[in-house]
Symmetry: D2
Subunit: 334 residues, 4 copies
């Protein structure tokens, strides 16, 4: 059985998803796409043998579409996901599930009302082999009891449109999800610690930032986010347990020795670092759908991540710790 996918949003990530789903994933095809940039949508559609539709809703309601991928701007996600639930179509929604915790709760309410899961949120790092090694070491007791962690998230540069809150909602949100997933606990408080800005960051952006994520079990995760580090895309993680430590660095197999230095390449950007990870994410999503199963990061994970990121933005403004207040977790997500 081939899953016919409709893709909403054909920007960089959406277009990459179309390529993957039409030619790299087993068991899927792309039948319909939509983008406000009609020319772009036509071009992407043509590359995949799909049709460009006139709106997101047309894609969702298309009878030739079995499942939907949402890669549109974040403020449109909630409405589009709700439409997928209404149409009873599984949906893989790029993060964020919604830009506010309140909107995430509306989505959760709608999904819970159907009595089953339709939504997977695009926290792709859970599919990365390196992160899986960390997760296994935490889960199987290899490092004893996991106590705390240190995470680094650096980008070479960001466009001028990037703002300080986006460092939380677009960047740190990945560390928020990874933290919840690795520790199997909710984050109960978050603090953004003011620090000296880089002279190379835009004047309106506070960069780098240090963020503290406090877990329900008492552990603390430190996160450095630095979106203008200049030198590359550098995502790392170190989980400290009671008897050992497990770390994740950039994967590497090669060393180049020249000019007095032994050097390993740092990925240029997230497409280099996590390209294969996105493919695994999509393949597992499609494989699940072919068996009638929706798994992966849930709407609850999307809600929790947005709620914590919202608190991080509040802390960014106030400079004070901000407690995270989550609603009770519905049984569907236990």
């Amino acid at each position: 059985m081939t899953i016919k996918v409709g893709v909403i949003g054909t920007g960089n990530i959406g277009a990459d998803h179309v390529t993957r789903l039409s030619s790299q994933v087993v068991g899927s095809t792309v039948t319909a796409v939509f983008d406000v940039d009609t020319a772009r949508a036509e071009q992407v559609a043509a590359s995949a043998g799909a049709v460009a539709r006139g709106s997101a809703l047309e894609v969702i309601d298309d009878p030739g579409v079995d499942a939907v991928v949402i890669a549109s701007p974040g403020d449109l996600h909630a409405e589009q996901v709700l439409a997928c639930i209404a149409a009873q179509k599984p949906v893989l929604c790029e993060k964020p599930l919604a830009t506010t915790a309140t909107d995430c709760l509306k989505v959760i309410e709608a999904e819970v009302a159907t009595g089953r899961r339709w939504i997977q949120v695009g926290f792709m790092r859970r599919y990365d082999p390196g992160y899986k090694v960390v997760k296994d070491a935490v889960d199987d007791g290899t490092i004893g009891e996991a106590l705390l962690a240190h995470m680094i998230h650096r980008n070479a540069v960001v466009p001028d449109s990037f703002t300080s809150p986006m460092a939380m909602t677009d960047s740190v949100v990945h560390e928020i999800d990874v933290t919840r997933w690795l520790f199997g606990q909710e984050i109960v408080r978050t603090t953004v610690v003011p620090t000296k800005p880089s002279p190379l960051a835009a004047a309106h952006v506070r960069d780098p930032q240090i963020v503290l994520l406090e877990l329900a079990g008492g552990g603390v995760v430190t996160v450095e986010v630095f979106v203008n580090c200049q030198y590359g895309y550098d995502v790392r993680c170190e989980v400290v347990g009671s008897t050992g430590v497990v770390t994740l660095d950039n994967p590497s197999a090669n060393v180049l020795v020249r000019h007095g230095r032994r050097a390993q390449t740092v990925p240029a950007d997230w497409r280099v670092r996590f390209g294969a990870t996105y493919l695994t994410e999509l393949q597992e999503w499609i494989t699940g759908l072919r068996s009638g199963v929706v798994g992966g990061p849930s709407a609850w994970d999307g809600y929790a991540a947005t709620a914590v990121a919202e608190c991080a933005v509040a802390s960014l403004d106030s400079g004070a710790p901000v407690p995270v207040g989550l609603v009770e977790r519905p049984g569907l997500y236990v």
Copy 2:
């Protein structure tokens, strides 16, 4: 278009290929298999929705088979590949193309007579990302002019059926192909240097061994093959150029710190190390076939590798350097 593949030989590697071609590669399906172990063939066929045929020839001649994968014992390869050429079906033949250079030449003769390529030989390392980095550094002048290389090929253990010549024909043959590919030159002489055997190797096996491969351009490649190293599967490569060096080690992103040691995992075996590489190899083969193209390592590469391995076996016996005499390369392979 879906390529319907017949797979001959359903041992470990054959069965893995069936799984890949039926469920992990885009654009292929497995329709027929054969193995002398009928029960095994039935089981593997069932797992892939294929049919178990009564002989290799039945698979090759099956009108429901578009292309063939040969993963049978090496001494059957030549005959089976010839049958594929006769049936005008593209074939991916696991190494060796044939167990003797003479038989390889018969295959080449048959392929050349058709005026086009049908054969790809299963030297999968050319599809490994780490080896590609090495190849690129050699080709683009990053390390200046490539002068020589050091290669290591270790297995944790081998079964009792393993013999000293197999270290050349089954193990070092990969380094032979990698050497020819990286340097873009033929190997003109090979020497097996006698060395002290491991007390943990079987009495009838000389292990480890050191092999010297001399290139047409004058460069020398040292190869250590050690098939009872106990600790894991360890394949490494260092190419030395006039201005720099590029190395390949086991890919790794994680470090585990415990008990006074910072440790990275060594792959347990070649399935761990090269599993994803085999998948890339098969995907590129299928993608090519869907466009009507046969690429990758050719019958000529298979012949050259077998010829050099044959000389290595001769040197193993004599202890002396053995020159490699290749026929003139047919135009089809230039």
Copy 3:
């Protein structure tokens, strides 16, 4: 000229210093020692051809003593250093200079009154080759402008006598000094972030801890201190600049490959990690004294470190950030 040194305190570190000064440092000899454990003092004295005196003051006032090393319990340091100043003898005082900022100021007052420096405080990391590489990269602009840093300080285990405040005054005090030295700035605020204790730490010790050090220039340094990490002594540092990053890890030249792992040794304890560093510290102290120069970390550095550690202890109790209020820096230390 040979500098005749008196050593006060012949516990582990004092005895190591006696060995170094009597047999590994060029230009020094040990002539007198004192310890409340008379037998121990006699034994150490004998090993170095020195005399065991009846009190610290006897050592300081001994006409056969040119310079003094203080390795006694920290609460005795201030009084002993003051006696050295009174006796006009250069003194290398192990950290802390004094256990309270107030006492440190008394020492500073006394030294300033003499119009010259007599005191070096034993912050030996400044003499470590790895830290010097970090310092150079910060100072010469290799990483652009230094913005923030991450530091880790782990011990395998601590004795039962260890308390939570000691994690600040005995362990983190090194990171406090390193931070001030690397950035060339004072620390203006410190926060101890409560985190989940290790089940292997004694019940009365909060361990691990996360400490934030805020610099006058706005940068923030995160410090993890974990004195029961079980696996070894692990001191690391990563300074993040506007265009690059420089890191310090455990020095290593060897890899051991066994049992499926490539492993590097983590130092067992600080004597393994910093033994050679202590020797460099003492050699440079003696070399300076032979030229009539007292250099290295000053009484001001000792005061600032104690003042910041005091604030860290206060933050440990209160859970809130604690501002660091230093007096004006006397001209002697500019």
Copy 4:
């Protein structure tokens, strides 16, 4: 007791030794030096408070000289060492002990006739901490039984005066000594394998070279020597045992991340890489002399190394393996 040392030869390495023995080693002073470059000798002597003598013999016979360091050109070593034995003064002779095996034997004969050891040969690598780790892993069974090894010896550049045989006598001679020391066996045969020269090497120098050293116990060591590798000084070693492997790479504690690369520094030259090792060598020599003991690499080690290097030069000329014929080892060296 202070050992008064006379130093013959004040070129780079001799001058470094003078500095070490006069100001960095405990228990030694330099009282006399000689160099054919009188001005240079005067300058070096002045820096150490020593006297420049008119000949090597004047240094050796100087009653104010207890022990001698020979750092003159290699072809003078034998005569000068013999003079030291005649004068009954311990001598640390830089490699080679003599430029021919025959001359080495004359030295051995003279030393044996005295019934005790006077000579230590300057194979300083045995004092390097990284090599000691390798030696320990070989000796204590950590890697099982040592079977073979791979060694690399690269220099950035060499002066025009460098010749092909010097790659054996000046460079590979270190690997020859390390091999004998690590395995505790003599080398019985050596082969220089012709390989493609670097376009950046001088026309009269064959560079790089591959050398095979065969041990009495059957093991083989591969050595790559490349004295114009351009990028730095790179000395590495990997010993392969029956159950594991131990490697030595350039010591490093720091990583610099910039411009898309994580990089470690390769030493610029041997003074950077082995400076501290020379100091340890000299300190242990002096410490031994103060106890009346001469240890370290012996005249026998010097003879064996020269004999093997001589065979390597012969193999360089002939292209064939050259057996090493050593005399019977005198009891003094067992």
